[in-house]
Symmetry: D2
């Protein structure tokens, strides 16, 4: 039984960590922080947690936090994470950081897309927390950079193909659609019910979304060459879920059968990846609330393109669930501990 | 570890039983039936279950079913249940029946609202499966009539008040709103996405919904007199959830404090009832996917009325979750076994 | 062709006035104000209006506004309206005020529910703008207090019955459900998509919602006695629409047929009231975007109660459409001018 | 004033024709057919039409239909249209056919994707009813093949670029997302509220959707060469709306400015196309209920791709609105007659 702390408990990913961790057999939530809701039970803010996680939110200096837990989830905005994490690590704590601050291995790229980085030394140490790619590195590390939601869905769909050279890296186009929880819980006109409901729209089109360099970093590493991709995010009128439809030109010689084998070899033993059969396509509603990533693909022979589809719950496999998976690996727990939640449908 | 069977696995309540039972520590699902989807994995029909409940649906005569499990959930339409249940009981099985066939203790009333009853002897034996009211009877029985979704939400809200004489029984008006999963999975124009989405409407107004006699049976028993209530169901553009707003005239002498005490005495130790504080009202989104019933109330002094509000997930506490709770009691398991699911929000 | 101004154009009711007025044969929108979006086209804020209402939003002192139009719609918060309206009237303008500031005829009641009133003299002059009840008074006035959305739906349902003494006034319970546009366009956590979507909840229960005294004022006037009602608002996960389910005890001697006649006599010639047939109930999706109020009722003989159901679009008949209807009457236009919009379904 | 008939009035496109035509200044709906709802008012099936279009549905042989109107909209499934249209034309009627039967100019292609064609002679005569491309041909014809919804959104986005050679035709990928009304009003499990709500999924991936050859026909004609495209449809949990995100490789020499000019030249005078400014992207909620097609684009210099986005209401510009626009052109009415409906937001 280890003690874990949630820093930034009043956002959707913080609350989701609480939802998952409260049924986890190996951990106890010993501290949850919120500036805005200090001294109020977390279950007052998220009434779903009532009777399950009634811990009081606290607003404590990081030094005091360190005394309260062994491992921390930092579910705070980028920049804030950068300032907290070094202190936590210095106190001998393990950290799973859900912000973007330690995801980009090239500090120059980080600074181009975000702002100056104050902990560039830790950037080198941090492990990109996609267990399906970096499980071994995660096992031994003390700082995991938990991947972004869009990158998780896109990279998991592409990895086996890129490793095998089955697609042409420069041809990749990722058309992604996300539920509104991805925008967070801050009150903004654009996220009001009336603005989002019964509608659909793209946003940050054409190399402007900050997940672009993160996706390109991993795609480039898998392809063994610098790759630019086209990535278009869209806003869905649903609470949870990302579906990415990814297009690429197939390398001659690959076909339905060989591609299927690539996926099976890579993911056959993965506990959270479900490979769907032929002509069964993923849907966000079938992964809702769970840590699953559902993947399938289709080849269009006339254009020699492959269409890869993947679905995740953006705040589970795309954030808090994956963070718990990373914690499990870091701490030597069963990787699936606490993550046996069945998707909720309908 | 007991063997359980789901008869009628291809409806929403059948699939929900599978979702809950697959993480239950004391049971194994050994048979699931579906006429329409025989020989197909249940997870083909409900893709959320993939990797969790991949059992093949079967279409077997009831005699063969009896060989496959110790306890059965009959998640079939009324009339069908009436024919199945006697055979299952005769074979020594325990049964939790999710249909309406054994809920009404007065066969004449049943026949007035449904059709002729072929097992009236069993009606007497069946226990109405609302654990908060009938826990002891459930413990010893072999046939539980699992309550309807609307009745569950309304009766749980009213019971402590009726027992204490705190409200005038003849003044009860229940204005209930249900998510669309309550209408089942049969393809009907009225339940199409485009007909329900972004809309709201009442239906079966004025003593025409079949849950009326069920509610009146329990309200009358609690009040110790024959009671007619007004009950209006409405269709919400949500998948899961019932919220009932119930109005009644307060008996002189009762006030906020004494009413609060009544609820605390009655429900303080109940694992699945959450009493909300003053001016915190229930919401369907905070019980989604869980077996909780959230209750609060407000008194309007100017009209001497009390407004009682309760929220449940109609296919969990209103159907499959309550069925599992009943099974737990019948079998001597921990009453909360398998039911620790935290509500999914957002 | 008269010149009209929209004061407060950047809220949902302001935008809705623009949507309706731009196709109105007798008016031209000559000014639209917004503090926040000054100097930006209204169609930048509401992209639906692009090519239809591209007028620039202005932030002008009220004295300058007076030079720009003949009639004004004040779609601003209460208190703000109170300060603007006297100036507009003093300049000889006509005003339809969509705020609550002139709806309550008793200033003491207003001050109990809102704040001190600075124009109590005008309160006496203002006409409550429910055309079905006050058409003649509206025709001759210069200041209309446009009714609240909930009151419109409830009063229209009750008026014929109260006038005829067909129900017992003290027995009235109004259970109302509103779409989220009723909460306005101000960014607040409680109105975020993720908080409202796929959920349902009551709010301001038990004589706490400010529409209570407005409803009671009109119900009392119709009943000829002081009446307290019970009113419970709920929040629906839809953008537009209010459905009110109203309960009352029937006066002996009235039945389905006589009640039907009361409605027909009262509303048979009304252009915006649609009386539905027996067992056809109103639904918000069938009035969406239109100025219609759909009404039907059902009698429950066992409890001697009548259940009255009414549906409106809260920002049309419940706000901007009714405001245009009032303008039409004030200006001698055809009452239906600009309001021929067919409800949008699905 | 001409007489028009709606054949197939009980589907969503039939009802939408009624919604639009009832406010059209030049036409009268004299007949509406439905097999299933014969002898019932259309407004019984679509309660939104009550008081607006109360015409009785009829089930008449086509010969009798011919006596009742001058122009017909055939809103029936493919194959059925093929049998009706020749009879209507032989009787001297004009026809706007909303089915797929006359859209594909190559009968062999039609027969490959649908079934044998019984009126191949008429295929040659029919004009593809996309007014922005074929206005002159539509003006003189008696049979218009009204385009499919997906093709309308995609072709309008691409046409100016293809005509100018600004993109490489073989690089086109169209990722389209449609509201559920596109699936029609037939009761099917897959279109139930609970299956679609709060979810998102692709379907008919990889050259299997029947709109593929229709899109390729028009793209090829515009490109002056045979083109294969990749087209992926997805199902949105909204009632109305299509948003297509189309990717193509830019021809060297074209940039933001020259592309903007191409669009302005082509569409600057079009009444139903709205070109959005830089970094303003289309959204389905801003065209809801209207005949507008909103278009914008973005260039990604790193990949030399252009991303074109277009939004329509699938049952207005994607079906019934475009059909009325075609009728207006065929009959010499103002092209915008009856189509001045402002998009409904929120």
């Amino acid at each position: 039984m280890i003690k874990v702390g949630i820093i930034g408990a009043s956002g959707y990913t913080g609350a989701e960590l609480a939802r998952i961790l409260c049924n986890h057999p190996e951990v106890e939530i010993t501290v949850a922080t919120s500036r805005q809701y200090a001294d109020r039970p977390l279950s007052d803010i998220f009434q779903n947690l009532r009777g399950k996680v009634d811990i009081l939110c606290e607003n404590l200096p990081v030094e005091e936090l360190c005394r309260k837990a062994d491992l921390f989830f930092t579910a705070v905005p980028h920049k804030t994470a950068m300032d907290l994490v070094p202190v936590l690590l210095a106190a001998g704590k393990k950290v799973v950081d859900l912000s973007a601050d330690f995801r980009l291995r090239d500090v120059a790229v980080y600074e181009q897309w975000y702002q100056p980085h104050s902990s560039s030394r830790l950037v080198k140490e941090a492990v990109y927390g996609l267990p399906e790619l970096y499980r071994k590195d995660i096992a031994g590390c003390r700082l995991v950079a938990n991947p972004g939601c869009y990158p998780t869905s896109i990279i998991l769909g592409l990895a086996p193909l890129l490793k095998a050279g089955a697609i042409q890296p420069q041809s990749i186009i990722a058309d992604s659609k996300s539920g509104t929880s991805g925008a967070g819980r801050t009150a903004q006109t654009g996220n009001l019910f009336c603005e989002v409901h019964d509608g659909f729209r793209p946003y940050k089109v054409g190399r402007t979304h900050r997940h672009t360099p993160e996706i390109e970093q991993e795609v480039s590493a898998l392809a063994g060459q610098a790759v630019n991709i086209t990535f278009t995010p869209h806003l869905l009128p649903i609470a949870r879920g990302i579906l990415s439809t990814v297009y690429a030109t197939l390398t001659p010689g690959f076909n339905r059968q060989t591609i299927s084998e690539l996926y099976r070899e890579e993911y056959g033993a993965e506990p959270f990846i479900r490979l769907l059969g032929e002509d069964i396509f993923p849907a966000t509603q079938f992964v809702r609330g769970s840590n699953f990533c559902d993947i399938s693909f289709k080849i269009d022979p006339a254009t020699e393109r492959i269409i890869i589809m993947s679905a995740i719950d953006n705040i589970v496999k795309g954030a808090s669930g994956q963070a718990v998976q990373n914690m499990n690996i870091m701490c030597g727990f069963a990787e699936t501990a606490g993550l046996g939640i069945v998707p909720l449908f309908p």
